[in-house]
Symmetry: C2
Subunit: 244 residues, 2 copies
């Protein structure tokens, strides 16, 4: 599977190409294509901003026109900020990433096309694209080129990312056995009983249930359950000492 190429049409500032290359590297994209950049190439400002992604700049290809740059691609999605008067499907970045991944996996050579900083994409460039991507924003919608590449790259990586939405570090997070937890509960309740904490007695059952729920909610490891038991022992010892 070939990851999508990033094609920057008529970029005006080398900095933005550098930032785009760096964002590509962050999210596993490597093929960079420039259409008629408005500056000398190679470009010093691009080099500085690309820090760590020099290889992407080095292998970047240049073409004078969109027709030549887009020629070998099977699927091209174009990013646009403003609405265009052309009847094409508009994708969210997430939907675009899914479509690009499905096509790439089927063997297609895919690309994401970004317009220049000021003018965006012209109608001829748009006509060569299969569909459009618009990044959702608040009223303040101006994203720079590097940011747009970053967000699309992020969605590309996410479209294959299998990280659990919420996880704990498995190396240190061995969840406690029920034995350990029951030991903790009974230890705590025994000491609370001895301290005449459960009052009135009729509420004991509810109080125990609430305390257990509070403890369970923190998802203790074996070690942490033992730590709490140690604290109980210490607190009780201190209390008896105080009463002497």
């Amino acid at each position: 599977m070939i990851a999508p190429a990033v094609i920057l049409s008529h970029p005006q500032m080398g900095e933005n190409v550098g930032a785009a290359a760096r964002a590509m590297k962050n999210f596993g994209l490597s093929e960079l294509i420039l259409i008629a950049p408005k500056f000398e190439w190679p470009n010093d400002r691009a080099q500085i901003l690309a820090s760590g992604a020099a290889d992407i700049l080095k292998s970047a290809k240049l073409y004078p026109t969109a027709a030549e740059a887009l020629a070998p691609f099977n699927l091209v999605l174009a990013t646009t900020a403003r609405d265009r008067d052309i009847l094409k499907e508009i994708h969210t970045p997430e939907a675009a990433a899914r479509r690009l991944r499905v096509s790439s996996q089927a063997g297609a050579h895919t690309a994401i096309l970004f317009g220049g900083e000021r003018a965006g994409l012209d109608n001829n460039e748009m006509s060569l694209c299969d569909a459009v991507i618009t990044i959702p924003t608040a009223e303040f919608s101006s994203l720079n080129l590097g940011q747009a590449v970053l967000l699309l790259g992020y969605e590309w990586l996410k479209s294959a990312d299998t990280t659990a939405p919420v996880r704990t570090r498995s190396t240190i997070a061995v969840p406690a056995t029920r034995t350990e937890l029951t030991g903790l509960f009974e230890h705590l309740e025994r000491e609370l009983e001895a301290a005449q904490y459960f009052f009135p007695p009729a509420k004991r059952e509810t109080m125990v249930r609430n305390i257990r729920a509070m403890i369970m909610r923190s998802g203790l490891s074996d070690q942490e359950a033992r730590t709490i038991r140690g604290m109980i022992v210490a607190l009780v010892r201190n209390k008896y000492r105080g009463q002497k």
Copy 2:
């Protein structure tokens, strides 16, 4: 509902605070808090990079310590690049945005905490946070502060965004009626029949089905269906003219 605050701990470069403010504005966040910035405040570089988000910088609050900055918050999620040896839940940005939104909607005052450019968050700061956010990246994982704020802001906005994953502009995209489509199909098939296009005749049905599928796939509007019929008329006329 109050949107999450963005808290930057010990930022080193004014530029990054400016970029963060701009990213916040893009995605509907407005409360910026700085913990002991390592530069003069207000800051010229921040102003320049914030272009359009000067109001966020202007209302930013400064605190000398994390304890003071975090004091009023009910839920604080901390971004970290590297794994930490502390047993806290790790969220993807998407899961974090959902959690922040659910809490905010329930009336909680929430925040996202970002560490300084070089050192990240210290253990004391981490201990004041409910959970951790890690942004998924390729092997090249260094995101700058502005980029991290951008991605979290983007997920915050997305968590309430109801934009259809794929849509067409409703103002110009009135999908064709079945009458219009049937008219087009029959017109085209009649002319193809007259031109003896369907060969061998036994394959006619399959050929018609494939042509209709190809046309349906482009999701024509009424106007586009009529445009195609106009093209058929023109092509047929031309053919007869050529045969004279």
